[in-house]
């Protein structure tokens, strides 16, 4: 799984590169958007599979019968998704830095904070929605349809914050974006925590 | 029955809106013009003015005409209230106004006028208004139609089970 996600994200990155004329200066402004598009598609690829095996092979019954809190299933699935995407990011970000000739390592602290918190938000919403989507008739299509509109604020903030980090702007510029990302994470973790048990009730 | 009632309501709403819009178009229009004589000098004196409105820049018979007799012109400038003699009613399109005088023979070119500065925008208002109500009524109609279909099916089923 992690390997196919990695290959997929590298291919997306390279294909995006071809959409600009060689040596274009425009790419500096668009780099944050490209990075995030890559991660969003990759994370959808990974998350759309996160409950498929359980439902198809009947493992979900076993999980639900296990003497654990149902919310723990959600948290562990979410953490696994988060770890997968983070692993992809760890490989892809340095490669981006080389491909697009952008120095991403001057502000590695701020960059990793933005990456970690935004990816967390994606995993929180995406894991819950993949549990819903896996029960619908059109599994792979349903996840992005549910996921994209709800995570639009996260996409806006992640792209803008990454842009600000790459432009080497001050912390005071990045912080308002990060604040919304943190609010998104907290609010939706709470909502997901409260509602997950209703989704897996009898799957 | 219900559909007929609703289409009646729809046409009522549309008609009311259209007349309301029609009422907004100006009945009177203040027109200020300049009159020059054959030498191109501003005209001074008293003259009769005939105003014709056409639909095109160089066409046929005027759709509206009004003559003002004995207009006092100073320094070539005059102002008249169009629509004060013949009722004037223009809709949203642009028109061409021609001015003829009794004393000056040189032709004055037709000038484009619009009903009012805002009137073109009335189309937008009218479009928005129509879309809003038509959408809502189509929705109500579709609910009514589905309801009717279900009711018919329900009635048929009850009859069948009753007879069986």
């Amino acid at each position: 799984m992690i390997f196919s996600m990695l290959v997929f994200s590298l291919m997306v990155a390279v294909i995006f590169n071809f959409s600009f004329p060689p040596g274009s200066e425009f790419i500096d402004d668009a780099a944050a958007g490209i990075i995030w598009m890559t991660f969003i598609f990759t994370s959808l690829l990974g998350m759309s599979r996160s409950f498929v095996r359980e439902v198809d092979k009947g493992c979900m019954q076993g999980l639900l019968l296990a003497p654990i809190d149902r919310v723990d299933i959600y948290i562990s699935k979410m953490l696994i998704n988060l770890i997968f995407i983070i692993m992809v990011e760890v490989v892809v970000v340095p490669l981006f830095s080389v491909f697009f000739k952008i120095n991403l390592f001057d502000s590695i602290g701020a960059l990793s904070a933005v990456l970690l918190l935004s990816t967390l938000g994606f995993a929180i919403v995406g894991t819950l929605f993949s549990a819903i989507a896996v029960n619908t008739r059109t599994r792979e299509v349903m996840l992005p349809i549910l996921h994209f509109p709800v995570s639009i604020p996260l996409i806006i903030c992640a792209v803008q914050a990454t842009n600000a980090v790459m432009a080497g702007q001050a912390w005071s510029v990045i912080w308002p974006w990060l604040k919304i990302i943190i609010a998104f994470d907290l609010i939706f973790f709470l909502v997901g925590y409260l509602t997950f048990e209703y989704i897996v009730e009898d799957s | 029955m219900k559909i007929r009632k609703l289409s009646f309501v729809t046409s009522f709403v549309l008609f009311f809106g259209a007349t309301a819009l029609q009422a907004q178009t100006p009945r009177l229009m203040h027109y200020e013009g300049q009159l020059k004589d054959e030498q191109g000098q501003p005209f001074v004196g008293v003259t009769d003015l005939v105003f014709n409105i056409y639909k095109t820049a160089n066409g046929e018979s005027p759709i509206w005409s009004e003559s003002h007799v004995g207009v006092q012109i100073e320094n070539g400038n005059y102002g008249v209230l169009l629509g004060s003699k013949t009722p004037l009613k223009l809709s949203f399109f642009e028109y061409y106004l021609e001015v003829k005088t009794s004393t000056v023979t040189a032709g004055q070119p037709r000038r484009m006028i619009v009903g009012s500065g805002y009137n073109f925008r009335l189309w937008f208002l009218f479009a928005a208004y129509t879309i809003v109500w038509v959408a809502i009524f189509i929705y109500v109609l579709s609910i009514g139609r589905r309801q009717k279909k279900i009711a018919a099916e329900l009635a048929a089923l009850t009859r069948d089970t009753g007879s069986a």
Binding site: P153 | F120, I131, I136, Y139, V140, Q147, I150, L157
Partner: protein, 231 residues
């Protein structure tokens, strides 16, 4: 039976109320409200645009409350209310998205302006289209109700976050001054017309919702009957 009759009386009262209010409202919008100085007559779109936006919000709030109600009480009627309200909300959000550009074209000279409010409605529209799709794509009444209730809660909780992030985003890319007139410096007659429009649209919303609910109820009655026959 008696209860049914009383409901019918309320229904016809509502119908008459909607009709009367709509007639009065058209008069107010086109004749009574004064003409706006800089925008002219086209500003009258305001009296349909703003109430539509309000109804869309109200509808989505109803979806939110009904979703919580369903997860809590597990009664089917909450799910029906949520589905009906979402459909009506999408209808009015669509109207907002159509009338907005029609207003914007003559006033700002562009069909689409990424103004915070319009963008918010675009996002809302996507969220609730997804909601309606989810309702149709899940098999089993009970499952569909549960899933859509969870998504209804997510969608509404998202609204303030979307608005905050769009606001911040528009601060960075400044837009041409967006037409004033909203809220500030309204003529009292304009305010009155606007409030009356909001009242009319609210009655219209209740009328649509009650009709939609009636439809759902007869659909359920039909399904039940079919199931009985099958056994």
């Amino acid at each position: 039976m008696e209860q049914n009759n009383r409901k019918d009386i309320w229904g016809s009262l509502l119908k008459i109320g909607v009709f009367v209010c709509m007639t009065v409202n058209i008069y107010l919008v086109f004749q009574f409200a004064p003409q706006e100085q800089s925008m002219g007559h086209v500003q009258r779109i305001f009296y349909f645009h703003v109430p539509s936006a309000w109804i869309a919000f109200l509808a989505f709030f109803v979806v939110f409350v009904a979703s919580i109600g369903y997860l809590w009480k597990r009664e089917r009627k909450y799910d029906l209310v949520a589905g009906a309200a979402a459909e009506i909300g999408v209808l009015f959000a669509t109207l907002v998205l159509i009338t907005g550009p029609i207003w914007g074209r003559p006033v700002w000279n562009t069909w689409w302006e990424w103004s915070p409010r319009l963008t918010l409605f675009l996002v809302l529209w996507f969220i609730y289209i997804a909601y309606l799709m989810l309702r149709n794509f899940v098999e089993g009444e009970e499952k569909s109700a549960r899933f859509s209730a969870v998504f209804g809660i997510f969608g509404f909780v998202d609204v303030p976050i979307v608005y905050m992030s769009i606001r911040l985003w528009r601060d960075i890319h400044p837009s041409p001054v967006v037409g004033g007139g909203q809220g500030s410096g309204l003529h009292p007659d304009m305010t009155f017309t606007l409030l009356f429009s909001v009242l009319t649209f609210t009655l219209l919303f209740l009328f649509l919702l009650s009709n939609r609910m009636k439809l759902e109820k007869s659909r359920i009655a039909l399904d039940d009957l079919k199931r009985q026959i099958a056994f």
